[in-house]
Every structure is written in structure tokens, then in C-alpha cells.
């Protein structure tokens, strides 16, 4: 039995019209989590966490990966049960045992990966899973009206009759928010919501969020981008190692201090730039076409060059062909037209082994699914590409002593934090897995390194480390193709910037001549740089 005496409100929409202003008292504590503790085997994920959210506030939740943000939000959303602690909604103690119960209490979560059905319309997606007011028929017309009304109230402009696959990523995100509001959400949890947006879309999105907050909506904004947190939120709570480091007004703090609280030490925002010393061309793409997973062209004539000793940053909104491009270079996806040249040798549609032999290293976007074997030990992962070479192998046999020494060296050189080299990679944090992959890929002294989203999802410390190593490697003469959706990262590390939009490179320029505004326009496909 739940302690709250009032039956949960039905999340299933009644017919009454929604007023724009909710009339919620904005000084009221909507959510109070007190003393939340959650233990996993060997980990204290949340250690007596206190967390409050008021109606009408945007509350940022900041912390490194593994700091306990996700666990805390999963507890709030009913996916985990806390071992200790209490949750109260509007002052009443509650137990949340499932997302359905969370929804009934007015809590909604917008996931990083949208949960939409592309062939259905916006309205159909919104009412999916809800009881209709006129069973067994759908109440589509009514839904469309309400969606339009919500759109007017909050500036969430979306055509309810449009099919989801026709919408841009930004519009799809709005549909997710409408879905939550349609279910009468009073508290929205947004998990890294800006990762998929262009800078312009981010601005528009923030305007919407502020509008929602003004009308009494409570919003939890999970992010690791400090400048977004400072630009948007009213209050910030910083988590570190499962504990709350502090909750404060955003206006009373700054990026530097937040970063320090997150990491527990000082972080330098200094960038490491020494002049480019360009060498030979290491990678040349000539009019490369390739198909995406759905059989449609994902690359439409990409031409690029990357020289030894330079970082070419490839910016773009997710899903514009960056992943496919990396895969074509690595030999994992066939090119249907065009030419891929690595170090003077035509490697178009050659096997990955041949391309690796040409001096190509690849840090893949999905480190746990592609870059490592999670149930293998650190040492076994360290030899993924080189297991056939001396001294790691002698004849048909692997030399486990040599492998052990080799793994030990990589762990030491790249500061990989692991209990031992025999620990399965599954138990390492994201940052340490990425350090291990980078160590492995750089240990071959590559001519070309393709690094796809190398710091995505990593904490500040690991991000800083990975970026530093990339720049070092470039100064040692490796050509680096840096594919990143994080524009700040691209600008900070690259010598030249290229922008991808819908399978094409729509602009290339030296970083010194690039501005965020211009790149944003290129990323959005509004502008196209004429070939120089």
C-alpha cells in the first residue's frame, strides 16, 4: 500500500480544456527527495541525497558520469527503488514503483533517445498508450485540438497532423515534450536534451523551457555543458560521488566554480594550441557516396583531405552522415562511389585489416558496442587489433606474459583507472574505457586517427585528458579527423573545421576564421559555403 491517501490522479487526459496558466503556486516545493540512498554491489550510487524542485523553476542537475544523476532520476521515475530515503510530491509522501506511477504523480521524463513511432502522426504518437475518451474509437480530433492549444501556450509549434519522420530533430523533441504535457506533467526531467540540436535550435529550445517555467512547470535539466546550465537554470545542484556537493542559485555562481565542485579540483579552460605543422596528406576522400542503414544514401559525394600534423574537426548535427563517413574510412561500410585514399594508397572498399595496416586508427562512437568487448578483460581488449603481432603472439600462440606487460604499459601511459588488467571492461567507467581505447589506438603510432565523438558522455576530467592527448598526438604528426557534435570541442581542438549537412560537406574553413553563428547556419543547412 502506498502511504499517500489520495488516489493518484488519472494521467489519462480528461476532456476539460487546459488553461494556459496553470495557476500553480510557484513558491511551493513540488518535489522533495530526502536522504535518498541507493547501493549497487560495490557502489554507493546515491549517498543520502537531498534534492528539491519548486514549481516554476528550472533546476539543473550537474555532475560527472557516475556521480549519481542517472540513478537519482531513475529513482524519481520509478525505475529503481531507493534503499533509504523519502520522496514527497506536493508535501505528501509517495512511493514510486513504476514509470506509470510517476506519470500519475505528474512526473515525466524526456529521454535522450526519442521514444516516437516515425510513421505515425504527431497526434497519434501523443495519444499512444492512453485510454481514449470514446473507446473503442480514437479521440484524434480532440487530441489535435489539445496539441495545438499546448503549442500556443508554450510556443511548442508542431503540426499535429504531420508524420513524425517528416519532422526535424528539434521538432521531434517538441513532440516528446508535448507528450509529457498532454499527460499533465508538472515536473519534466530532461536528460541531456541539447545534444541533438544546433546552436540556433538550442536558443529556441531554451526560450520554450523558460516559457514553460513561467507558467508553473518544474523542470529538471540534466547536462554536462556548463555554459548551458549557467545560461538556463534558476538553481543548480551538483552531485559528486553520489553525494550532493551543493545546491545554489545559478546567479550566485559561475562556470569555473561549478566545474570545480563537479570534479573536486580546479579545471583549466585553457586551450592547448601550437601552430600547425602540416605534413603529407594522410586521408583523402574524393566524392564518396555510401548508403545508410536504411538503404538510403547517407553520404552524397563527400570530399575531404586531412594532413599529418593537423586536426580537421567535422561538425554537424547528429545523423547527417558523420557516423557513416567514419565507417567508410574504417572499411566497415562499403562506398558506392568515390575514392578513399589513406597514406597515398587507395583503400576504397578494402578490408578493415588492410586499412589498419595502412596506419589508420579509429576511436568509434560507440565504445561499449564497437570499441570494446565488455566481458573481456582490460588486457584482452588492449590487444584487439594487434593480437597477431610479435611480441604479443609467438607462432600460433598468444604470449600472455608479453600481453600483460603491454597492457600494463598502456594502463600506466594513459592513466586508465582499473582495479587490475584482468578486470572486465564492463566494470570500468566510461572515461576509463575511452582512455583504454585511445591508448590502444595510439599505441600503433597511426598515420591517421579517426576519432568519433571521443568525449561524448565523459566527465570533465576525462574529457580534458582525452582532448589533451589528441592535441599531443597531432603535434607528433598524426592526422586526426575529429568527428564531434560538440561544437565547443570542435572549435577548441581543430585546426580546420568542416561542417556536414545531409550527407555533404557544406563548408570547410580554418578554425580561426570560423564563428559559432556561421557554423550554426551551415549545420542547419540554411547556408552553404561555395566551394573555394
Amino acid at each position: 500500500m502506498t502511504p499517500h491517501d489520495e488516489p493518484p490522479r488519472n494521467p489519462i487526459a480528461p476532456t476539460a480544456a487546459i488553461p494556459c496558466a496553470t495557476g500553480r503556486d510557484q513558491t511551493v516545493q513540488f518535489l522533495e527527495m530526502k536522504g535518498i540512498t541507493k547501493r549497487f554491489p560495490g557502489v554507493l550510487a546515491n549517498d543520502h541525497v537531498d534534492f528539491q524542485v519548486r514549481s516554476g523553476e528550472i533546476h539543473a542537475l550537474l555532475g560527472e558520469n557516475g556521480a549519481g544523476k542517472t540513478t537519482l532520476m531513475r529513482i524519481l521515475y520509478g525505475l529503481y527503488q531507493p534503499d533509504e530515503g523519502k520522496i514527497a510530491i506536493n508535501g505528501k509522501a509517495v512511493t514510486i514503483r513504476s514509470p506509470r506511477e510517476a506519470t500519475a504523480l505528474g512526473i515525466s521524463m524526456v529521454h535522450q533517445h526519442f521514444m516516437l513511432v516515425p510513421p505515425l502522426t504527431v497526434a497519434e504518437n501523443v495519444i499512444l498508450g492512453l485510454k481514449s475518451t470514446r473507446e473503442p474509437w480514437l479521440n484524434l480530433g480532440e487530441a489535435q485540438e489539445r496539441i495545438a492549444e499546448l503549442g500556443r501556450c508554450y510556443g511548442l509549434r508542431v503540426d499535429p497532423r504531420a508524420r513524425v519522420w517528416q519532422l526535424s530533430v528539434g521538432e521531434q523533441q517538441r513532440v516528446e515534450i508535448i507528450k509529457a504535457l498532454y499527460r499533465r506533467a508538472e515536473l519534466l526531467i530532461l536528460d541531456e536534451p541539447t545534444a541533438v540540436l544546433t546552436p540556433q535550435e538550442v536558443q529556441e529550445f531554451f526560450t520554450i523551457l523558460r516559457q514553460m517555467a513561467r507558467q508553473g512547470q518544474a523542470i529538471i535539466f540534466i547536462s554536462h555543458k556548463l555554459h548551458e546550465v549557467t545560461a538556463l537554470s534558476d538553481r543548480v545542484t551538483v552531485l559528486r560521488d553520489g553525494q550532493v556537493v551543493g545546491t545554489m542559485l545559478t546567479s550566485a555562481t559561475d562556470r569555473q566554480r561549478l566545474a570545480q565542485m563537479m570534479v573536486g579540483r580546479e579545471i583549466s579552460f585553457q586551450r592547448y594550441k601550437d601552430p600547425v605543422n602540416k605534413g603529407e596528406v594522410a586521408l583523402e576522400l574524393q566524392g564518396v557516396w555510401a548508403q545508410g542503414d536504411k538503404g538510403l544514401p547517407a553520404l552524397k559525394g563527400v570530399s575531404l583531405t586531412v594532413s599529418q600534423g593537423e586536426i580537421l574537426g567535422l561538425a554537424g548535427v547528429a545523423g547527417n552522415g558523420q557516423r557513416e563517413l567514419a565507417e567508410v574510412i574504417a572499411g566497415l561500410r562499403p562506398a558506392t562511389q568515390g575514392k578513399v585514399v589513406v597514406g597515398q594508397k587507395d583503400v576504397t572498399n578494402r578490408s578493415p585489416a588492410e586499412i589498419i595496416a595502412q596506419g589508420m586508427s579509429y576511436v568509434p562512437e560507440e565504445r561499449m558496442r564497437v570499441g570494446t568487448i565488455v566481458d573481456f578483460s582490460v588486457a584482452e581488449n588492449a590487444i584487439l587489433e594487434t593480437h597477431g603481432q610479435a611480441p604479443l603472439a609467438r607462432g600460433w600462440f598468444l604470449d600472455y606474459q608479453a600481453i600483460g606487460r603491454y597492457a600494463e604499459k598502456l594502463i600506466a601511459d594513459f592513466d586508465v583507472k582499473t582495479p587490475s588488467q584482468d578486470t572486465p571492461v564492463r566494470h570500468l567507467s566510461g572515461g576509463n574505457v575511452q582512455k583504454l581505447i585511445l591508448a590502444r589506438e595510439l599505441s600503433r603510432s597511426p598515420r591517421l586517427l579517426v576519432a568519433a565523438q571521443p568525449t561524448r558522455g565523459l566527465d570533465v576530467g576525462a574529457t580534458e585528458y582525452i582532448q589533451k592527448r589528441l592535441v599531443e598526438q597531432r603535434s607528433k604528426g598524426t592526422a586526426i579527423l575529429l568527428i564531434s557534435e560538440d561544437l565547443d570541442e570542435v572549435l577548441a581542438l581543430s585546426d580546420r573545421v568542416a561542417v556536414m549537412y545531409e550527407g555533404q560537406v557544406v563548408g570547410v574553413m580554418p578554425t580561426s576564421e570560423a564563428s559559432v553563428e556561421e557554423l550554426g547556419l551551415l549545420m542547419a543547412g540554411v547556408k552553404k559555403q561555395l566551394p573555394a
Binding site: 578490408s351 585489416a353 588492410e354 579509429y362 568509434p364 570494446t372 587489433e385 593480437h387 600462440f397
Partner: protein, 355 residues
């Protein structure tokens, strides 16, 4: 209030359950069999006791159990190495038949050859026969992405009927009074036996194969590649490991071991090629491999258990008038419960009261 059952994903797969589930699957299968036995009016306790004593309770029973464990072990190891790489080789039965055919062909072609020549030649022929037979689905899979489950399964029937054709037709023993089988091999082509029992040298083949497989998987470059592909084919491709080459090589090894099982049956037990040389060893091997979690040493142990089930089943037929199919039902039930139990290794069940 209603009681709801929910599966929650475990953070790490349970190690204890990885061991307990095979054990519980056997217990549950026995319970399931007990219900059936009770339904036909037999006392399950008595039946199981008879099965057990039939398989393990006498010298004859025990040696017969060892004899039947040999082909299960060899083809089980073969199946397991393919399964390790996520290659679903269901064709061990056919590979065993072709191995037997190839070995018999050698034995019949050189009736004068001494044992030191003919036995190794038959082993080689049996291994190669099975390997080539398995290479058909392997090549189709590697080059054309044809599903190996279907092709390897279908080729079983081709192999079985090929052997039947030979023993009824061109290879039939003219002095065999019409019995569907070839002429007996020369004594040199018979595998040495242990004392007066029917236990033959094939037992050693099985144990050596388990040892080799263990070393290949743990200590060699090839074994490392097999394990990488089995755990994460995407990462294997990323690392430049050739899937095509490994599919061909692993399927050849897998079929070769099943072929060696066929060779050891004709050379060690039957001393001729005849109809029905295998009561479905190649299929039982799949259950053996799965119950043993694809671990070579566990396969050796589980082979003896399942051989006991087969021998015990035969005893039931003789002493209690129960159909031998009873042991097939039990085998099927064991596999059924294991597959059902797999989900618990990665998930836990939570029962909660909901309003």
C-alpha cells in the same frame, strides 16, 4: 491489489545461476517426466531408479554409457566450438554420417592395409568428410549470408539418405542376406578396445579433442579471434578480424569433430557402415553443448550424463515395456528448461503487489 511479476535486468549476469540453472533444468525435466510417467500408470521413483541402475549400476551398463558418451563428446565439442562463434551448426548429425561414410570408404578400399596405416587414414578421412560437409553451409553463410541453421539442418537429411542409398545399393554386402550394411571391415580397421568391453580408443579421441579445444580457445590467436567474434561480431569487424575466414575454419573444425565421431562409431563399434549408425547423437550433442555452457571440460562430463540417459532409456524399454522415446522426452525437457532459465541469468524476477 494484484500481484505482478516483473523482470528486472541484472547489472551483471549472475555467476551462481549460470551453474545452478543447468542443474535445476535437469531436476525440473525429471519432475516433468514424472508427471508423464504417473499419467501412464508407472511409479516415477521406480522408473528413475531403474534408469539409473541400468546406466550406472552394472559393469555392462557403465561401459555402454561410456561407449555412447564417445560420439556425444566428439560431436558436442564440435557443436560447441561453432556455437562459441555464434555459428548455429545444427548439422552435426549429417557431418557424423558423412564422416562415417568417408572412414568406411577408406576401410573398404584398402582391406589389406595394416592398422598403423589404415586407422590414421580413416581418422583423417572421417575428419575431412565432416569438415567438407560443414563447409557447405559455412561457404553459403560466409559468401552469401545464407542462414546456416537451415542449410546445416537440411544437409543432415541429405547425408542420412546418402548413407542409406549406399548400404541398400552399391555398397551392400553381397553376403549380408539382404541386411542394409556394407561388408565388415578388416580387423586392422577396427579401433582397439579396452579389455573385453566395447569401450574403444574413441574415448581418447574425445578427451584429446577437449584438451585441444580448451587450448585453442584459451591460448591461441585463432581462439582469441573466435572468442572476440562470439562476444561481439561488430568489434571483431572493427578490429580487422576476418569473419569469412573464421566462419570457414570454425565450421570445418566443428564438422570435422562430428565426422571423427562418425569414424569412431563405424571403426570402434559397428565395424561396417550400416543403416542407423547414429540414434541422433548429432542432435543430442546440441543439448550436451548447451547444458555444458560450451565449456570443453563440462561437455566431457555432460556427455556421460546424457549417455546414461540413453542407456537407461534402453533399459526401460527392455525391463518395463516403456518406449525408448521416454529418454528423448527427457532430453527435450532438459533443453526446454535450460533455454527458459537463461533469462534468469541476465534478469531477476521481482514480485510486487500493485493496486
Amino acid at each position: 491489489m494484484k500481484l505482478t511479476l516483473r523482470l528486472e535486468r541484472r547489472l551483471t549476469p549472475s555467476r551462481a545461476l549460470g551453474f545452478l540453472i543447468p542443474v535445476f533444468s535437469i531436476v525440473l525435466a525429471l519432475c516433468f517426466g514424472a508427471v508423464l510417467l504417473a499419467a501412464v500408470g508407472k511409479n516415477p521413483g521406480v522408473v528413475y531408479q531403474k534408469m539409473f541402475s541400468g546406466a550406472f549400476g552394472s559393469r555392462f551398463g557403465l561401459t555402454e554409457t561410456v561407449v555412447k558418451a564417445i560420439p556425444l563428446m566428439l560431436s558436442g565439442l564440435g557443436v560447441a566450438v561453432a556455437f562459441r562463434m555464434l555459428l548455429w551448426n545444427i548439422g552435426a548429425e549429417g557431418q557424423l554420417q558423412i564422416g562415417a561414410f568417408a572412414a568406411a570408404g577408406v576401410a573398404l578400399a584398402f582391406p589389406q592395409a595394416p592398422a598403423v596405416v589404415i586407422i590414421p587414414a580413416m581418422m583423417l578421412a572421417g575428419f575431412l568428410g565432416g569438415a567438407l560437409w560443414a563447409s557447405i553451409p559455412a561457404a553459403l553463410k560466409a559468401k552469401l549470408q545464407v542462414n546456416e541453421i537451415i542449410t546445416s539442418l537440411m544437409l543432415n537429411y541429405v547425408a542420412i539418405y546418402w548413407v542409406e542409398y549406399l548400404v541398400y545399393g552399391p555398397w551392400r554386402n553381397p553376403k549380408g542376406y539382404g541386411f542394409p550394411g556394407t561388408a565388415p571391415f578388416s580387423p586392422a580397421a577396427e579401433l582397439p578396445r579396452l579389455g573385453t568391453s566395447r569401450v574403444h580408443l574413441g574415448l581418447l579421441f574425445g578427451l584429446v579433442a577437449a584438451l585441444c579445444l580448451y587450448f585453442i580457445l584459451r591460448r591461441t590467436k585463432w581462439g582469441y579471434e573466435i572468442r572476440v567474434i562470439g562476444e561481439n561480431p561488430t568489434a571483431a569487424r572493427y578490429a580487422g578480424i576476418s569473419l569469412t575466414r573464421n566462419i570457414l575454419m570454425v565450421m570445418a573444425l566443428s564438422g570435422g569433430l562430428a565426422g571423427l565421431a562418425g569414424m569412431s562409431e563405424v571403426s570402434g563399434i559397428i565395424h561396417a557402415l550400416q543403416r542407423g549408425i547414429s540414434p541422433g547423437y548429432g542432435y543430442t550433442a546440441i543439448i550436451v553443448a548447451w547444458l555444458a555452457k560450451l565449456n570443453p571440460w563440462a561437455i566431457v562430463v555432460v556427455s556421460f550424463l546424457f549417455a546414461g540417459l540413453l542407456v537407461g532409456g534402453d533399459q526401460l524399454q527392455i525391463s518395463m515395456g516403456l518406449p525408448a522415446a521416454m529418454s528423448n522426452i527427457l532430453q527435450g525437457a532438459v533443453l526446454f528448461f535450460i533455454l527458459g532459465g537463461e533469462i534468469l541469468v541476465r534478469n531477476r524476477i521481482s514480485l510486487t503487489w500493485e493496486k
